[in-house]
Symmetry: C2
Subunit: 406 residues, 2 copies
């Protein structure tokens, strides 16, 4: 009799029919003898609808109030799932984040879990009830409602698994697992049987949307393996994210990630003196613009060029922020390109095996794709290219690194 922590995403709970199907799935698991704690997201597009409602009453909704508003979506699905379980003959109870003992800091909109008091959870589990926990939410020390940010229910599930000393969290979603590339772009993509935490983190932060990066971090920190699998296709094995035991991988590239909508900003002809980067990036941080990659070219004649990338939606805010300091830092020109995307090759140990970067650049060259900017980590190489070339780049790299074969 194992204790299992599961998580079901919003598309798996989009209507009453799907909620009943998930309840049946949980009921079968319970009848096999397992005890289940399941974390649920808000139904379908509920979160987007609530945000739209907030924008109808306020031009800039307060972060605290937005959290209180949004956390109701997950409460609604948690109670509906519990009712559906009752109808399936299973003892069950819903708990809000606060009732489940999930304590966070008070950073509204992207709170971090400070700790989980599992007393109530354990009482319900011992009483033989399936516990349905409203995901994505917690409470601060002052008992204010907080949310963990988009995809936060994944983090809720992995953190609960850690707190309840489960070896594994099961994340059920509308795809069959973590793919070698986005199957909508690359038909040859296939689900991976397993992947390491670090590789998954690099994939998640460079465009693979299947897993919330913070959930992977929590899994790595507490040694909780994460199974990503399909809610409704129960035959598909899914992908296990864990500490990989294979010392040397035959194919060191595990996946191709991409981002379709990236913008580049270049600050040209900046006098090369200390503090320039701070003067540029402080106003960006104040404007809540998240900067991806930063490259500073070697200076000539005491002048330097500084380039950074942002999400396309943030470009206007970024130009306003940097435009405000252009004169004071003495920059000659501010240029931007909003028609870019990224493609990334990810795999552990890539750095120690030569030739991967060369193969990536050669593949893009053979496709006639120009590289605008390169950035790398130990296990990742990312190239910035024109957005309309991204899908072709993904397919070509997928083939070049033989990812269509197991």
């Amino acid at each position: 009799m194992a204790l299992v922590v599961q998580k079901y995403g919003g598309s798996s709970l989009a209507d009453a029919e799907r909620i009943r199907r998930v309840a049946d799935r949980i009921a079968r698991r319970v009848r096999k003898g397992d005890r289940v704690v399941a974390v649920v997201s808000a139904m379908g597009d509920t979160t987007d609808e609530l945000i739209a409602l907030a924008r109808q009453v306020s031009t800039e909704p307060s972060a605290r109030e937005l959290d209180v508003l949004l956390h109701t979506g997950e409460i609604v699905s948690s109670t509906l799932m519990t009712m559906a379980l009752h109808d399936a003959g299973v003892a069950a109870v819903s708990l809000t984040g606060a009732q489940a003992g999930i304590r966070t800091d008070a950073v509204y909109g992207r709170a971090r879990i400070a700790g989980i008091d599992t007393a109530r959870l354990e009482r319900e589990i011992v009483a033989g009830r399936v516990v349905i926990v409203a995901g994505f939410q917690g409470v601060s020390e002052d008992f204010d409602v907080t949310t963990l940010g988009r995809g936060g229910s994944d983090t809720t599930a992995v953190a609960l698994a850690a707190a309840l000393r489960c070896e594994r969290a099961e994340i059920y979603t509308d795809v069959a697992g973590v793919y070698t590339a986005d199957p909508r772009v690359c038909p040859a993509a296939r689900p991976l049987r397993d992947i390491g935490y670090e590789e998954m983190l690099e994939l998640a932060t460079t465009g693979a949307r299947v897993m919330h990066a913070r959930a992977v971090e929590v899994g790595a920190l507490y040694g909780v393996a994460i199974l990503v699998a399909s809610t409704f296709d129960e035959a598909a094995p899914g992908t296990l994210i864990h500490e990989e035991t294979t010392m040397e991988q035959a194919n060191k590239v595990r996946g191709i990630a991409h981002q379709p909508s990236v913008a580049k900003v270049t600050v040209r002809g900046v006098p090369d003196r200390p503090g320039i980067a701070a003067h540029i990036f402080e106003p960006l941080a104040e404007a809540h613009v998240s900067v991806d990659t930063i490259v500073q070219n070697a200076s000539e004649e005491g002048l330097t060029d500084l380039t950074f990338t942002v999400a396309r939606d943030d470009l206007d805010a970024a130009l306003r922020a940097v435009g405000g300091v252009q004169a004071s830092i003495g920059a000659r020109e501010l240029a931007s390109d909003a028609s870019l995307g990224t493609v990334s090759v990810v795999g552990t140990g890539m750095a120690s095996a030569p030739g991967y970067a060369a193969r990536m650049f050669r593949t893009l060259f053979d496709e006639g794709i120009n590289i605008e900017l390169i950035s790398t980590s130990d296990i990742r190489i990312t190239c910035l290219v024109q957005a309309d070339r991204v899908p072709g780049a993904v397919r070509a790299l997928h083939a070049a690194f033989a990812l269509d074969r197991e």
Copy 2:
């Protein structure tokens, strides 16, 4: 600088536009120097929509889960109202029932307030913030979410006024106050300037829907006066429910209430022995059927007839419950009539001034309306009549007791 507790109903908050109008109203009050605590209901038909959703996943939703589900409706409107106040330049914060310290018993669906811990509320008020409290909800000792039943936000507001030692609670709604009769049925009806607690209770329990009876009880118990007024027609003075100071009323009838959909069940030919009433009404209670009026006729030849009324929607359940014991109590026949309604005349001191009952019966007789059953209290006379005669009865009684004149 007074502290004011207000409550806004669901129809006053049905969309973003109305929420902003209510926020403007609160903002003007704050600028006049008052401190405001406002209780809000769920927007428009939200509660009904959530109940419909619950019925899609469960044939009989658990009362605990239904409370958790429904309480999200008031949280949504509390955060939207708070955001709208921010946009109107007013410092404000939303509190859930739990955050506002509203502790209840654990009777889901119709919990009663056990006490209010005002610490957080007072901290926010002292900090100069308008506090928007999600109505209709509280938490039990075990930190489980409870709701106070339909109309419970009125009770929240009056209980908060009592706990915060306010002399008055202001209930804003889509009508101009408490009317002498339902203006949809009786065009001559007019809003009362004031009314006593007891009279209001009798009106509320016999069909006047403008106020939640429990809110009136709490007001009477703690001496909180309740102003019922229009949200958007600020010129209308509204009705003040309070301990009336006029010792003798010129017109002792204050209002005509009615219920349009009532059913009558008659158990005929029951052997007249002790315990019969218990045998009939215990199964009704178990079936959650609420019984209004009970009349037992004088017995003849050791047999008695027992008649009771229920809401029309409860008739089938009532017949099933009583049918199950008909044989064991030896009743000859079970008869019912689902086409009835009630009309009630309410006024303090009516019992001590003779002639009111006679005038009521004479008025109905003059209209050719047959009385099926009569029940009375100190300050109320209720007649059961055919449902299609109810509107005419209301109008005739309104005129007969000169309620169209101040």
